[in-house]
């Protein structure tokens, strides 16, 4: 088991007048190589949870075991954790600071002690894994790049640390449709080829539907659902109540189902939806013809 989270609690500003419960008794397990989507409205505790998984935050109680190592044990060295768990924040291009792309990507692995040829090779590999041309981009200043390129460089900076688990907080936020699609396919490739375990926070339910093996839903610091995407998204009304929506095609089908219950509402992909609608129209037409 890759990640085991047992009953963690986290409280902000404990003891002070504005104390808030950020995470409330959360438990879940994630197997090696899985692709997990995490959804929840703003303020539901997603970022807090992510930061617990790589040791940036420590829970008040409960334990987190990553790859067999209890990262919540006192005195645990953070470098060990960051070798295993890579976290890419939202708008990661804002963390770029070096003079060249190569130097910036090298920052992470350098901090972990890598040097010399191994470092160079790792940096090169990371940059290519995100779909950029190493020779073309390595000497350029990160600030001269386009938004999409900057984002890839930032992600390369985390991949270069060779984590087994990669956590991405809204990686496609603010990208234009093309860059969005390209990034998604890059992530898919990484998942498949490097056999990484991926945690993916997003507000885009279509992306989640497409990429995730399972979906966790957070609300006000509590884990309210943890299931396959199909099962989570069929609970349309519940999701709506907590301010979340479902994949666009599901929304359409659910609305059609409300109009005519013979139409199946729990549909999550385009092809199936198209064929259901086609059949419905055909049956209506043939019924009309026969009348």
């Amino acid at each position: 088991m890759s990640i085991e989270v047992k009953n963690i609690n986290h409280i902000y500003a404990e003891g002070l007048p504005f104390e808030t419960v950020a995470l409330n008794d959360i438990s879940f397990n994630i197997d090696d190589g899985k692709f997990v989507g995490i959804i929840g409205h703003t303020g539901s505790g997603k970022s807090t949870l992510l930061q617990h998984l790589n040791g940036l935050l420590k829970p008040k109680s409960g334990s987190i075991t990553v790859d067999g190592v209890d990262i919540t044990a006192p005195g645990k060295k953070m470098t060990e954790i960051r070798k295993k768990v890579g976290l890419v924040f939202q708008y990661p291009e804002y963390q770029l600071f070096e003079e060249t792309v190569e130097k910036d990507v090298a920052f992470g692995p350098k901090n972990l002690g890598m040097q010399g040829e191994e470092l160079e090779a790792t940096v090169k590999e990371a940059i290519e894994l995100v779909g950029l041309d190493f020779e073309e981009i390595k000497e350029r200043s990160p600030f001269d790049l386009s938004g999409g390129q900057k984002r890839r460089v930032a992600i390369a900076g985390v991949i270069a640390m060779k984590p087994k688990i990669l956590i991405l907080d809204e990686p496609t936020a603010g990208l234009d449709p093309k860059a969005h699609r390209e990034l998604l396919s890059t992530i898919k490739k990484l998942h498949k080829n490097e056999k990484l375990t991926i945690l993916f926070v997003s507000h885009n339910m279509d992306d989640i539907m497409e990429m995730a093996d399972s979906v966790m839903v957070l609300e006000n610091g509590t884990l309210v659902m943890n299931d396959s995407p199909e099962r989570v998204f069929s609970r349309w009304e519940e999701l709506e109540k907590i301010g979340l929506n479902v994949p666009q095609i599901t929304e359409l089908m659910k609305k059609l189902e409300k109009k005519d219950s013979s139409i199946e509402g729990n549909v999550f992909d385009m092809e199936k939806a198209a064929s259901i609608i086609k059949n419905y129209i055909n049956s209506k037409e043939s019924k009309a013809q026969n009348d």
């Binding site: 600071f97 003079e99 600030f143």
Partner: protein, 155 residues
């Protein structure tokens, strides 16, 4: 164009204040170890840093309770120092010098007379100058090197 300069100065002030607050309480009173002092090298890159640092120091001191006297004297010292750094902008290694001297003298005096610190005036001044030097040369110099390569951001 004037608006841009004004806003740039304001934002520099904000960064200075943030850098001071972030290291509180070390940044106030007796210790005065301010990372934000490394920012005193900014006049080398843009004159908007002169009013910027002045106002940043003003704000940083106003929010601090200890800093009331600091508000007037410390901020003026920063203003003078910023102007000095600006004058030295063509000589990298001299840029951090004005803040060290200005703050050493002014704040050292302040600690001695106003806070009644129990050592000689010279010791006070050197103490402050020392802390200032660590920030200005220790952090300021690498910062100058780093920013030098990204001068475009200041346009």
């Amino acid at each position: 164009m004037r608006t841009k300069k004004l806003v740039t100065a304001a934002v520099i002030a904000s960064v200075y204040a943030v850098a001071t607050i972030a290291v509180a309480p070390l940044s106030y009173g007796l210790m005065q170890i301010r990372i934000s002092e490394a920012l005193t090298i900014l006049p080398m890159f843009t004159p908007a840093a002169i009013p910027g640092l002045f106002i940043g120091c003003l704000i940083a001191n106003i929010i601090s309770p200890i800093g009331l006297v600091d508000v007037v004297l410390g901020s003026l010292a920063t203003l003078l120092a910023a102007y000095g750094s600006y004058k030295f902008r063509k000589h990298k290694w001299l840029v951090p010098l004005p803040p060290i001297i200005a703050n050493g003298v002014v704040i050292g005096w302040m600690l001695y007379y106003i806070y009644g610190v129990d050592v000689s005036l010279m010791a006070c001044m050197l103490w402050v100058a020392g802390g200032e030097a660590v920030a200005c040369y220790g952090i300021g110099m690498p910062l100058i090197m780093a920013l030098d390569k990204r001068k475009e951001m200041f346009k």
